[in-house]
Amino acid sequence: MEIPTQLIPLEDTPGEFVINVGPQHPSTHGVLHLRIKLDGEQILDIEPHLGYIHRGIEKISESLQYKQSIYLTSRMDYLSAHMNNQACSLLIEKGLQIEVPERAKTIRLLMIELQRLASHQLWWGSAGLDMGAVSPFFFAFREREQILEIFEETCGTRLTMNYITPGGVMNDLHPTFVKAVKDLIKQFKVNIHEYDKLLTGNIIFQKRTQDVGVLSKELAISLGCTGPVARASGVTCDVRKLHPYDGYEKLDFKEIIMHKGDSYTRYLVRIAEMKQSMHIIDQLIDNIPEGDYRAKIKGIIRLPEGEYYQRVETARGELGVYVVSNGNKTPYRMKYRTPNFSNLGALQYIAKGSKIGDLVAIMATLDLIIPDIDR
């Protein structure tokens, strides 16, 4: 039986109008191809076409050793590279029953929260850019640039860090790390009020995002959405609170839950998460324990036979790594449950019935990273 790749036909039927958004797009979030059926300005149906950046990471992982496939994970959701590495590392530590030293755990958490800040900053800048306000983009990169410089000093690179590794972290902290982070947080706390005034309080921005793309709580749960998208609809799903790892249980931070579910609420949730991240960094930065930065681990890792699942909270939701091992050097099956894949499912349901202008607002606040969807 012939199964078509698209249900929306190529020719226009009378009264309806089919257009393509992407894969090359000026306000590009990545290479996502949407076929949209329109009736004038209103959207009738959306069909996403993926695969433009499908690199076969899962298939390749079956031929690579565990430590080698960690390098591929940074390239999935590259804005949450540390979290992706952490997911694999935690899974291996769980399988081999390795105890990570306290210093390594604290360093990991600091890097994770800095990465979350950087990711939300880039999201904020491009949300403003999509809405037509060009200036927030530059302001957002001011902070992000500083965070990336901190990463470069300690981890060696700016984007795909591969710093968090099974057993701990790759290198010890750079001597200027603590001071640089303290200066950054001090400046950030002042700047975030500027950002609130520029975009959050702007009546035009509010009018374009309020009551646009409402995702109800039942739909969010049914679709498997996680992260700020689900938290804005009232679903409690922060992995840092539900299944804490690496010392999150000792920290004091709030999980941001709001109930309205529209684009403006998703925006507010992420702004509030930035403030919580700063609060976490404040608690950690002065109390980095001394000790080893990495536990001893064998050269070639063989996980005992069985299945493993590890979840972490990336900037966009719950990332899950599912490994089926049969005792060899390489995994038998390695599956990544990526948050953007489920959040993409939400797009089809919440964009129906809204206008094209609203589609931009919805995509800006859903914050999709396409390499994460395609893997």
Binding site: P48, H54, K59, L219, Y309, G320, R333, S342
Partner: protein, 151 residues
């Protein structure tokens, strides 16, 4: 319910199915024919309420396929793994759980695309990532490709 309590409950409620456990979750293995009914029961029963499907994937053990569902409950916060095993590799067909969890739509499209397992009663089954004319199903263990990058 904790992992042990859940295992006990499952042994009571589904006496015909196999119950195993991994390091994280209890595992319930059902037959293909009872998949939809079991999944529906797991979602609707007030004691379990598994309303969140957070991962659905397939594994190719060379003689058989296994479709794996990871479920959790937003009210009780307990997790479960549901598995379906079948041997038919040429006409692999399973019932879709889209009508229970909408998340299954994209997951099942991906599994169909990469493994070739068809899902019955799926609203829009299509090859979502690879094109319509891609030969074969890459994630199967017997997939051959002339351009092997990593032997």
């Amino acid at each position: 319910m904790s992992k042990e309590e859940l295992k006990a409950y499952l042994e009571l409620t589904f006496p015909t199915c196999k119950i195993e456990e991994t390091i994280d979750f209890p595992v319930l293995i059902v037959e293909k024919e009872q998949l939809f009914a079991t999944a529906f029961q797991l979602k609707e029963t007030p004691a379990t309420q598994f309303d969140f499907l957070f991962c659905q994937t397939a594994v190719d053990y060379t003689t058989r396929f296994e479709v794996v569902y990871h479920l959790t409950s937003t009210t009780y916060r307990h997790d479960l793994v549901l598995k379906v095993r079948f041997d038919d590799r040429d006409h692999a067909e399973v019932e879709s759980v889209y009508n229970i969890w909408k998340a299954a739509e994209l997951y099942e499209n991906e599994i169909f695309d990469l493994f070739g397992i068809r899902f019955l009663n799926h609203p829009n089954l299509r090859r979502i990532m690879l094109g319509n004319d891609w030969p074969g199903y890459p994630l199967r263990k017997d997939y051959t490709d002339e351009n092997i990058l990593i032997p």
